[in-house]
């Protein structure tokens, strides 16, 4: 019996060594896990394919002030909903705790790492993804305004094999699309400005060309307007 157990353990180690640590699970819990793997944000983001799920990377890409970070806050709040923790890697030191809290993030279960170099970013993200302590690791590459930017989305290539075998999801926020890296991407593009009494009060962004979000310029709040298809159905 003990020999059979050891042989089974060896076989599992071999399979996991080849395909990743979480590829095998007991049949009874595999189905439950499939539901647990998805991170529910409670918005139209959940209806987009691929969504945010454990063991999967996702990039939110768009120019500045389109609402990427606010959407990432929603994702972080969703990851925390079941008691999970979030690691936010912030090389540009632009994380705003107030807007995160307004988006529903529990700051007591969010650790911010101000990694200064590309290697530090990779180290922090890899440590989070390899541990069982986090449901979501966010890498905010920051505004790409200068050629000396610390991290670009393409620099995160070493994380992809790690996230595949991780119980956590990886969310990357970037101004620019990946050039050499094949990573599922939601583009975030501003489609309209909201005005009131002649003053700009916010804007509407289209995520992955399907989901619409209204962002208030003051207060860092976002309102889910639903998917474009649903809106068209409602308006006839």
């Amino acid at each position: 019996m003990a020999q059979a157990k050891t042989a089974l353990a060896d076989a599992i180690a071999h399979v996991e060594g080849r395909f990743g640590t979480h590829v095998l699970s007991h049949g009874a819990i595999a189905e439950r896990r499939a539901g647990e793997r998805r991170i529910q944000t409670g918005s139209s983001l959940d209806t987009l394919t691929p969504g945010l799920a454990s063991g999967a990377p996702l990039a939110l890409v768009g120019s500045g002030s389109t609402g990427k970070v606010t959407l990432a806050h929603r994702a972080a709040a969703g990851a925390q909903r079941d008691g999970g923790s979030v690691l936010w890697i912030d090389p540009s030191a632009t994380f705003d705790p107030l807007s995160a809290e307004r988006s529903g993030v529990d700051l007591s279960r969010l650790i911010v790492v101000r990694a200064r170099t590309r290697d530090d970013v990779l180290l922090a993200a890899a440590a989070a993804l390899r541990s069982d302590g986090f449901r979501l690791a966010v890498v905010d590459t920051g505004p790409q305004v200068a050629p000396s930017t610390v991290t670009r989305i393409d620099d995160l290539a070493p994380l992809l094999p790690i996230v595949r075998s991780s119980p956590a999801a990886l969310l990357v926020i970037s101004d620019t699309r990946a050039m050499r890296l094949a990573i599922p991407t939601f583009s975030v593009a501003r489609v309209a400005w909201s005005e009131r009494f002649g003053r700009t009060t916010g804007w509407t962004s289209l995520v992955a060309e399907r989901a619409l979000f209204l962002f208030a310029s003051l207060g860092a709040e976002s309102h889910d307007l639903g998917t474009r298809g649903a809106l068209l159905e409602r308006t006839g």
Partner: protein
């Protein structure tokens, strides 16, 4: 019938072997404050024979395993048994029969009791030099004059206080070995291969109710010297994932791994497993302790002021930078 066997152990005796021999023979073996082993013999009579017979067998089993003759004491309390063991020749068992405890203790000097030397001196000035004289004093006066410690010594001598024999388990080697026909040359392959060994160790730890505090990995390598890696697990854990993570971080610090042909993973220090508080129905990634452990690691690698947690202190600040305060997750 209450019966305790105490075995006095000389300083240089192989204690682990003696403990293992006693544990193999008797159901409850503990270690007293003075370092002697105390065995609770209650309930063993029908199976193993009279206490005296059990004691003689135990002495001879300990002698065989340690190669040293030991002295034993039998009494109705652990305290009496311990004192009896120290007052007999090696290889013998000093039995104090029930009802004969006072006669045995009364003539002994006060220093066998757990009393402060100053109290013993003070008692000597009062003409109290033997346990019998000490026990002749009124109990209330002893407590009032000499305090709580003296009252405890008094109760021990009278048999009113019976020391608890807390069972201890002999140290067990918790180790796992893996050998590979094809040498392992990559770090990732080695870590995945070590997962099975870590699972084995975690199972052994859980079985014994222990958590690993330190672990050692020894890698045999082709054409290179064996590589020895010592890791501390903080917080101590019985989880396979924690063991693997610690090994991973240790291995990542190595510049070259070489061709690994075998690995021996051993838990070198343990402590009793403590429960940990987790949320009900917590999914994967809800382990706060793991998160703090990662934060500790990153703090070590990245330096101060890099691993932070924010707290909103003013939800409507006049200046944006005054909205939140930042503090280190791990100091």
């Amino acid at each position: 019938m209450k019966a305790y066997l105490a075995i006095a152990v000389p300083e240089r005796a192989p204690r682990a072997r003696i403990l293992a021999a006693l544990c193999a023979m008797l159901p409850r073996v503990g270690v007293a404050d003075d370092g002697s082993f105390v065995c609770d013999l209650r309930g063993t009579e029908r199976l193993l024979g009279t206490p005296l017979r059990v004691a003689r067998n135990a002495i001879s089993a300990c002698g065989a395993s340690s190669g040293q003759l030991l002295a034993g004491g039998l009494g109705t309390t652990p305290f009496v048994a311990r004192i009896a063991a120290t007052r007999t020749a090696v290889g013998k068992v000093n039995e104090i029969p029930a009802g004969g405890e006072r006669a045995f203790l009364d003539v002994l000097p006060l220093d066998v009791l757990p009393l402060d030397p100053k109290v013993i001196e003070e008692l000597a000035l009062l003409g109290v030099r033997r346990i019998g004289e000490f026990l002749a004093l009124p109990r209330g006066s002893v407590t009032d004059r000499f305090g709580h410690a003296a009252a405890i010594a008094y109760a021990l001598a009278t048999g009113e206080l019976v020391e608890d024999v807390r069972g201890v388990a002999p140290r067990r080697r918790i180790r796992a070995k893996r050998t590979w026909d094809d040498p392992v040359d990559s770090r990732e392959r080695l870590i995945f291969a070590l997962r099975a060994a870590a699972d084995e160790l975690a199972e052994a730890l859980r079985h014994d109710g222990l958590a690993a505090l330190r672990l050692r990995l020894v890698l045999e390598r082709e054409e290179l010297l064996p590589l020895r890696l010592e890791r501390s697990l903080l917080p101590p854990s019985a989880q396979s994932a924690a063991i693997v993570r610690s090994l991973r971080w240790g291995l990542e610090e190595l510049a070259t791994l070489g061709l690994v042909t075998s690995a021996v993973l051993e838990i070198t220090a343990v402590e009793p497993a403590r429960g940990r508080q987790i949320g009900l129905f917590a999914p994967d990634g809800a382990h706060a302790e793991e998160a703090i452990s990662v934060a500790q690691f990153l703090r070590t690698r990245l330096g101060a002021s890099t691993v932070l947690q924010a707290r909103v202190v003013d939800a409507d600040p006049r200046l944006p930078e005054r909205a939140a305060e930042w503090e280190e997750v791990v100091r």
